[in-house]
Structure formats: structure tokens, C-alpha cells
């Protein structure tokens, strides 16, 4: 398998007046070409920061402290100017959480397409760009006449379709979807997920799906990385993770999913709150909330290691 994206020892912090908030701590991760990698975690676990870092879009007060992100062997974090601009959108495209606010309210949909395509492909004129736009709109199931509409004339689900059509317009290799269905109602969510699945195969994409919704990950992902407090605490194939979660945090996440067919099962929530990123507990950052914590957990931070069954867990229990 070919690795398309390789994150090595990435640390990102937000430097605020109240101190340094360590959003991502020494994170390493490989994304294989053609897979769907789910990244799950609570709010504040660093998922969205990771997405912005991959796009090279971190703005102050956020700063990359250490590490590198290699896309096809080139380090994104050391790219500048035109080089990174040409990578964004053309190689790696992103789908955002809130389709209601992710389109320019004063531009028609067609202009979103035209400027996007022409600014990346010098040899394509407006006419040809419009042709691509029509084709993309069709492939996400919207009639091409709607290219002349403004974003506010679309519903949330339709806007997300437009965002997807935009993201795929230049045939990128890697799609970063940051909570793409969180702002949508469940029926529309299912439609969008189906659409993403279909297009992923059609365009032979690699997909990084960031979400806090365990159900969405189960439905979509080949592999799942569980993030807690800026680190990956568990990484394995989706099926294995759901059948046999290893990290106590993963167990907690899975037990907190309500099951319709088994109402007698008690819903378990993880006690406590995610820690303040400016003041992360010593040792394993999960230890104050962990039912299995012992002395070592308070002092030594476990590394994400490959265990004998081939799964990656960052926990002293294994």
C-alpha cells in the first residue's frame, strides 16, 4: 500500500494570553492511498486543528511547534506561497462542517466554480470551467440551472452537496471532511454520506473523515483513529475497534452510543470532562477519567504502540 499522507511528530499549540494550549501533542499518523480514515474524538480533542494543519491553514495564535506533514514526500509545513496554494484545493480538498456559512453569500455558485477552477488551471477558460461545474453539479444530484443561484437559495443539505461538488471539481487525491454532516438533519446526513461514499469510489479518492459521531465512522471508515487530548490513543480497523475496543476511552465512546434494539443496556457516559489543554494531566492524559488507572498512568505517558495483534493502542494496560 502506498502512503499518501504521513504525519510525523506533529505538535501544535495555541498561544493565548492565558498560556499555551497544546491542541496536538507529538502526533504521528499515516494515511494510505484509497482508504477512508475516520478520526473521532470529543470537541477539543484536536481533530479540527489537525485538519487545518494538514491544509497548512493554521492561523495565529496557533503555531506548529514540531513535526512535519508529508504529502507524497513533500513537507506541507515547509511549503510557502504559490506552492502551498496550488496544493490546497488541487491535491487536497476540504469539506467543512457548516455548509450554511462555508459559501460566499454574495457570489453565485457558478462564480465559486469558475474562480476556483481558473485560478488553479491556467489553460482553462471560463467557458470550460462552467462545463466542469455543470458536470460536478450533476454528479452530486443538483440540476445545472441552479449554478445561477446564490448560496442562500439552497437548503443545508443542498449546500453541502455544492461544497462536495466544489471540493471534487479539480479531481483532488485527498479529501478532508471535517464533520461534514454534523450540521444536517439525519435523513440528509444519510444522503450526504451515501453521496460521499459513491463519489469516493468514482473519483478513487482517499478520504479523511473527521467526526465525533461514532455511527458515521462505523458506516464509512476503513480504519479509525481515536483522538483524545491532542493525541491518538487508539488506531485500528473499524470492525476490530467496534468489536473489541482496547483503550478505556474508546470503550467509553462506544458504550455511550444509544442502541435502539437494546434499550435495557445502560447508557454509560465517561465521567469527568476533557482536560483543559493549557493544563494537561501528567502521565496519561486520560488517567483522571479512567476506571482502570494505576500508578504508572499518573507518571508515564503511554506511547501509541503496535501490539502483537497488529493494533495500535496508547495505554499501559496492554
Amino acid at each position: 500500500m502506498e502512503t499518501i499522507l504521513s504525519i510525523r511528530n506533529l505538535s501544535v499549540s495555541y498561544y493565548t494570553d492565558e498560556g499555551e494550549a497544546r491542541a496536538i501533542r507529538n502526533l504521528s499518523l499515516d494515511v494510505e492511498k484509497g482508504e477512508t480514515l475516520g478520526i473521532v474524538g470529543e470537541s477539543g480533542s484536536g481533530k479540527s486543528t489537525l485538519a487545518l494543519a494538514i491544509m497548512g491553514l493554521l492561523q495565529p495564535p496557533a503555531r506548529v511547534k514540531t513535526g512535519s506533514i508529508y504529502y507524497k514526500g513533500r513537507n506541507i509545513l515547509s511549503m510557502q506561497g504559490e506552492e502551498i496554494r496550488k496544493l490546497r484545493g488541487k491535491e487536497i480538498a476540504m469539506i467543512f462542517q457548516d455548509p450554511m456559512t462555508s459559501l460566499n453569500p454574495v457570489k453565485k455558485i457558478r462564480d465559486h466554480f469558475i474562480e476556483y477552477i481558473t485560478e488553479h488551471m491556467e489553460n482553462i477558460d471560463e467557458h470550460k470551467a462552467l462545463e466542469i461545474a455543470r458536470k460536478m453539479m450533476k454528479s452530486v444530484g443538483i440540476s445545472e440551472e441552479r449554478l445561477d443561484d446564490y448560496p442562500h437559495q439552497f437548503s443545508g443539505g443542498m449546500r453541502q452537496r455544492v461544497m462536495i461538488a466544489l471540493a471534487l471539481a479539480l479531481n483532488p487525491n485527498l479529501i478532508l471532511a471535517d464533520e461534514p454532516t454534523t450540521a444536517l438533519d439525519v435523513l440528509v446526513e444519510a444522503q450526504i454520506l451515501e453521496l460521499v461514499k459513491r463519489l469516493k469510489n468514482e473519483f478513487s479518492l482517499t478520504l479523511i473523515l473527521i467526526t465525533h459521531n461514532m455511527g458515521v465512522v462505523a458506516e464509512m471508515a476503513d480504519r479509525v483513529a481515536v483522538m483524545y487530548c491532542g493525541r491518538i490513543v487508539e488506531l485500528s480497523k473499524t470492525e476490530e475497534l467496534y468489536k473489541n475496543p482496547k483503550h478505556p476511552y474508546t470503550k467509553g465512546l462506544i458504550e455511550s452510543i444509544p442502541l435502539l434494539y437494546n434499550r435495557s443496556r445502560k447508557l454509560v457516559s465517561i465521567p469527568g470532562h476533557p482536560p483543559d489543554l493549557r493544563n494537561i494531566p501528567s502521565g496519561c492524559s486520560f488517567h483522571p477519567r479512567c476506571p482502570y488507572a494505576f500508578d504508572k498512568c499518573m507518571n508515564v505517558e503511554p506511547e501509541l504502540e503496535k501490539k502483537e495483534d497488529g493494533r495500535y493502542v496508547a495505554c499501559h494496560l496492554y
Binding site: 491544509m55 491553514l57 496554494r85 496550488k86 496544493l87 490546497r88 484545493g89 488541487k90 480538498a93 476540504m94 467543512f96 457548516d98 456559512t101 462555508s102 459559501l103 460566499n104 453569500p105 454574495v106 457570489k107 474562480e115 476556483y116 485560478e119 488553479h120 446564490y150 442562500h152 461544497m163 466544489l166 471540493a167
Partner: protein
Amino acid sequence: MGLREYILTRVILTIPMVFILLSIVFFVMRILPGNPVLLRFEKNADPQLIASYTHKLGLDKPLYIQYIDYINDLFHGNLGLSMSGDFSPVAPEIMSRFPATLELAIYSTLVAILLGIGLGVLGVAKRGKVDSAIKLYGIISYATPVFFVGMVLQIVFGVFLHVLPVYGRYDGTPPSGITVAGIHIQTGLYTLDSLLSGNFQAFLNSASHIVLPSIALGVVISGVFVRITRANMLETIRADFVIAARARGLKERTVLLGYALKNAILPVVTVIGLQFAILVSGAVLTETEFSIQGLGLYLVDRVYFRDYTAVQGTVVFLAIIITTVSLLIDIMYAYLDPRVRL
């Protein structure tokens, strides 16, 4: 509400507004000490002469009769005769002076928009020291009186450098405009008239006169534009659609102008409309300082002579102009923001 109904409603709302304004001016002018007759003659003038003039101007009638008479005239489109000088009709005088004020208003608004929006965007794009300097400019220019800026400009460019004229609108006979298909077109905007008649020398002449006053007035008004543009840009630049635009790898120029500015500009447009009233009051000072024979100078002049009809007429005229401009700006707003349907 359709566009037509909207415009109609706004126009109808203008009537009571102008009416109230006019009534205030009418009574305040008459409460003020002095009147056009007393200011016309020496202190110890013949009482009979004074009485005859007072009668002639209708000032011997009870106040409410004067008021009703004036309103009656106004509804018949008659602004009346001036109460000072040669008692000439007020309306033609206003019309002959309006182009000078309009020209000043257009150019100073242009200066204010270019400076204000330009610096606002520059500050957001560059950040750091450039931004701090621009922020400071916004505060200082807003707080500086227009006659001070005008005076500095006059001293630097007129007195020391001798490059630009410091008073008037034109040296010599103003350009006459152009006759097209038997229709004579003369706008009274000298820069436009000279261009229409194809006289480039005349254009330079008139343009050089308007430069300093426009900059003086424009700089003062630009302060508000700088601050509003900057504040709105800083807000929109953090908006999701701007981050999404960056993530699509759009050029920074497109992101700043097509995304951040295009959305930040909407509140600025509203402010341009509001500033127009301030612009008119600024024009009074600017015209006085640069001896431009416009409405502002006329108003100041006539207030001094307690020329009731002239002041009332000018105020009514300016009020109508200001409300018309603010209506046009609102319509433009709807055009710029597709979400607004009037």
C-alpha cells in the same frame, strides 16, 4: 414588498421629515435676534423706511400667517424671493450654486472611499505596524476639523509649493458645456463640462481647483470608512467561507477582495449614505475656506443676513438631496447583497 412600493414608501416618509425640519428652521430663524430688514440698514435708519421694507417682505403679518403663506407657496413649488440683496428668486440661485457643492461632494466622497476602503484593506492584509499606523490615521483624521486639514493643504500646496490653486473653482470664464443635437448640455460641474466640450486645458484648470478641497473634506470623512472597513474585514476574514476559500487554494488577492472585502463592504455602504449628511455640513466649512460659490457658502452667507426664505429654501433642498442619496444607497445595498430583497 417590491422595489416600487419600497421607493414609494420612502418618498412618502420623506415629506413629514422635510416638513418638520423646515418648521424648525422657520421658527428658529425668526426667534434669533435680528431680521433681514434691520440687517439691511444702518443702525439709525429712517423708521418709515424700515416699516415699508418690513411690510414689503410680509414680516409685519402674524407669525402663523407667514408660516401658512410659506408652506402654501412651497406646495406650489415656489421657494419665494430672497429677503436680502436684490430680492431675487431663491430657487434659481440654489440651482446655480448646487453644481459647485455637488462636484465637491462627489470628489470628496471618492477620495474618502478610496482612502478609507484602501487603507482599511491594506491594514488587514499587512497587519502589524502598517495596521497600527492605519488605525491611528483613522482616529486622527476623524478627529481633525476639516478647516484645519484644508488650511494645512493650502499652506503646503498653495503657499510653499505653488502647485495648486487655493481658492475658487476656475481661473477665467468657466467651460460652457456642449451642444448635442440642438440640446445644450451644461451640468455646472466644471470638470465634467470641460470634458464634454473636449477642452483638456479647461479640465486641468477646473480639476486643479477641486483637488485640495476634495482632499481636505475626503480625508476627514475617510476616518470613519477606514475604521468600519477594517473592523468588518477583520470579522469577515475569520468567517467560515473565507477559510473555505483559502482551503480551495484561491489566490490571496481573491480571498481578500472577492471574499472578505465584498462581504465587509455592505456595512460600509450604509455608512457612506449616513456620512453624506456629514459631508454636506463639511461642505459648508470647506466652501467657506476655499471660497467655492456653492450652497454651503450661500447658506452661511444668508444666515448672516437673516435671509429667511433663502435659508429655508436651501435647507429644504439639501434635505431632499440627502434623503434621495440615502434612498439610492439603500437600493444599491440590495443590489450588492443578494440576500436583501427590499
